[in-house]
C-alpha cells in the first residue's frame, strides 16, 4: 500500500482546539453539577416554612462575602489580561498577572476560612443545631456532660484516681469527692499532680452534681424549682390532684442556670469553653448543610484552579507560546468558578 498521498485536512467539527473543546465539555458537566446544588437549595428553601436569615444565627457576613466576590472578580480580570499577554507573547507580563491571580485565590480561601471559623466556633454545623428549645436544652446538657468527662479524665489518665472503668463517671465522682481525704498519692503519681487534683476535686465534683441535676430534670421534664428524683420528687407527685402535673422544665430556667455556671469563678471557665449558647434556630441544620455543601465544593474548585495556575508559573522564564491554550483553558475554568460564586453570593449572603 502506498502512503505517498497525504489526505487533505477536513474542516469538520467544532472550530476550536481539542483542548478547549474538552474544557467546554467539562464545563458542561460542571454546569449540571452546580445547578443541581443551587437548584436543590432553591427548592429546599422554598419548601421550608422558614429559613434562618438573621446574621446572629447564621454568622453570615455580607461584607466578607462581598469582599470575596470582589477578590474573584479582580482575579478573573487578571486571568483574562494574562491570556491577552500570552497571545502578545509577553510572557513576563503574563506571569505577573497569573501570580496576582494565584495570590488572590489564597486571599479568597483565607476569607472563606475566617467565615468557616465563625460558624464552626459557634457550632453552626449540619446536624449540630438545635431547632427547638427542648433540643437546645438537651444539647447544652450533652455539652456539659462532655465538660465533666474531660475534667474527670484528668484524674483517671494521671492515675490519681485508679480505675478500670474511666467512662463510668457516676462511680468516679464518689472517688473524686473523697480525694481530699486521701493523704498520699498513688504509686507513680507525682506529689505536684496529686495536690493540684486534690485541690480541684471538690470543684469538679460540684460541676458533676450541677450537670447531673440538669440531666435528671431533663429526663423527668420537671422545673428546676422542684426535685427531679428521690423521695421529695415522689412526695411532690403524690400531692398532685387529678389532672395536675409538676411544672415542666422551661428553656429560660436552663439558660439562667448556664449563665450562672459560666459566671462561676471556679469552674465557669470550663463551662464557657465547652457549652455553646443554647439558642434554637429553626431550619438551621438544612441551612448549614446546603451552605457548607455549596461553598465547600466551590472552595475545592478554587484549589484546583490554583494548581492549574501554579503549573504555569512553575515554568518560570521558560514559559512560552506552547502554554497559551493552557492559560486560556485555565482562565475559562477560573471564570466558571467566578460565575458560580456570582450566584452563590446573593443566594447565601443576601436573600
Amino acid at each position: 500500500m502506498s502512503h505517498t498521498a497525504k489526505p487533505t485536512a477536513l474542516k469538520m467539527g467544532i472550530p476550536i482546539p481539542n483542548s478547549k473543546l474538552g474544557l467546554w465539555l467539562f464545563l458542561g458537566t460542571e454546569i449540571m453539577f452546580f445547578t443541581a446544588f443551587i437548584g436543590s437549595y432553591i427548592v429546599l428553601r422554598l419548601g421550608s416554612r422558614g429559613w434562618p436569615t438573621d446574621t446572629h444565627d447564621t454568622h453570615i457576613n455580607v461584607i466578607l462575602g462581598g469582599l470575596n466576590t470582589f477578590v474573584l472578580i479582580v482575579s478573573s480580570y487578571l486571568v483574562v489580561v494574562a491570556h491577552e499577554a500570552m497571545a502578545q507573547k509577553n510572557f513576563a507580563k503574563a506571569r505577573t498577572y497569573l501570580t496576582g491571580t494565584l495570590l488572590l485565590a489564597f486571599v479568597f480561601l483565607g476569607i472563606k476560612s475566617a467565615e468557616y471559623y465563625g460558624k464552626i466556633s459557634n457550632d453552626i454545623l449540619p446536624g449540630h443545631i438545635a431547632e427547638t428549645s427542648s433540643q437546645a436544652v438537651k444539647k447544652a446538657s450533652r455539652e456539659l456532660e462532655v465538660v465533666v468527662r474531660d475534667r474527670f479524665a484528668e484524674y483517671t489518665t494521671s492515675g490519681v484516681v485508679p480505675t478500670d472503668r474511666p467512662n463510668d463517671i457516676v462511680n468516679l465522682v464518689n472517688q473524686i469527692a473523697t480525694l481530699p481525704s486521701v493523704a498520699t498519692p498513688p504509686e507513680g503519681v507525682s506529689e505536684g499532680t496529686f495536690n493540684a487534683l486534690k485541690e480541684s476535686a471538690p470543684v469538679d465534683a460540684e460541676l458533676f452534681r450541677q450537670w447531673m441535676n440538669l440531666h435528671q430534670h431533663i429526663v423527668a421534664n420537671v422545673s428546676l424549682k422542684v426535685p427531679a428524683i428521690g423521695p421529695e420528687y415522689l412526695a411532690a407527685r403524690a400531692e398532685l390532684k387529678e389532672g395536675e402535673k409538676l411544672p415542666e422544665l422551661e428553656y429560660a430556667e436552663v439558660t439562667s442556670l448556664l449563665t450562672d455556671m459560666k459566671a462561676n469563678e471556679k469552674y465557669g471557665y470550663y463551662v464557657t469553653k465547652g457549652v455553646f449558647e443554647p439558642h434554637p434556630i429553626v431550619y438551621g441544620n438544612i441551612f448549614a448543610s446546603t451552605y457548607f455543601l455549596m461553598t465547600g465544593f466551590h472552595a475545592i474548585h478554587v484549589v484546583v484552579g490554583m494548581i492549574l495556575f501554579w503549573l504555569v508559573l512553575k515554568q518560570g522564564s521558560k514559559l512560552d507560546e506552547k502554554w497559551t491554550d493552557f492559560v486560556e483553558n485555565s482562565g475559562l475554568y477560573w471564570h466558571f468558578v467566578d460565575l458560580v460564586w456570582i450566584f452563590l453570593f446573593p443566594m447565601l449572603y443576601i436573600i
Binding site: I16, S19, I42, L46, V282, D325, P346
Partner: protein, 152 residues
C-alpha cells in the same frame, strides 16, 4: 498547550480569528465591581424581600452575562456554544424542576417536624423570646407569631 492533532491545528486557525475582537476588559471589570457594590447596597438598604430578590438576582445575571460574554469570549464564539451548552443547561434544570412540585411547592399539608411536631414548642420559644426582649430593652414588644413559618 497546543499539542492538538492536525485537525486541531486546522481548527486553531479559525479559532484565532475570533481572538481578533478587541474587548475593553477594564471596562467590564469596572461594571462587575459596580454590580458587586450594588448587591451589598441592596442588602444594607431595607426593602421588601421580593424587591430585594429581584434586584440582587438581576445584578447577578448581569454579572454572569458580562463574565460569560466577554471574559469567556462566548460573544465571539461560533454557534457551537449553543450545541454544547444548551443540552447541559436543559438537563441541569431537570433536577430542580423534578423536585419542585413535591418539595418546593408543597401542594399538600407539610408534615415536616418543624411545622407539626415542634410547632408549639417553637411558638412558645418565640413568645418567651419576645417577652425577654421586651423586658431587656424596655422597648416596643415583638409580637410572637404563633406560626412557626415566620421565623426570619
Amino acid at each position: 498547550m497546543s499539542h492538538d492533532s492536525h485537525a486541531g491545528h486546522v481548527a486553531h486557525t479559525d479559532h484565532d480569528a475570533h481572538d481578533t475582537h478587541h474587548v475593553n476588559y477594564l471596562a467590564i471589570f469596572v461594571v462587575l465591581c459596580i454590580c458587586t457594590a450594588l448587591s451589598v447596597i441592596f442588602d444594607v438598604v431595607h426593602m421588601s424581600k421580593p424587591i430585594t430578590i429581584v434586584l440582587v438576582m438581576s445584578v447577578a445575571i448581569t454579572k454572569a452575562l458580562c463574565v460569560m460574554m466577554f471574559f469567556m469570549h462566548l460573544k465571539f464564539e461560533g454557534n457551537w456554544k449553543f450545541v454544547l451548552l444548551a443540552p447541559t443547561t436543559i438537563l441541569a434544570i431537570g433536577l430542580p424542576l423534578a423536585l419542585f412540585p413535591d418539595v418546593g411547592a408543597s401542594y399538600y399539608t407539610s408534615t415536616a417536624p418543624q411545622t407539626t411536631k415542634w410547632a408549639q414548642e417553637i411558638s412558645d420559644y418565640q413568645k418567651h423570646h419576645a417577652e425577654h426582649t421586651e423586658s431587656a430593652n424596655h422597648a416596643e414588644p415583638e409580637h410572637a407569631d404563633p406560626d412557626p413559618a415566620h421565623v426570619e
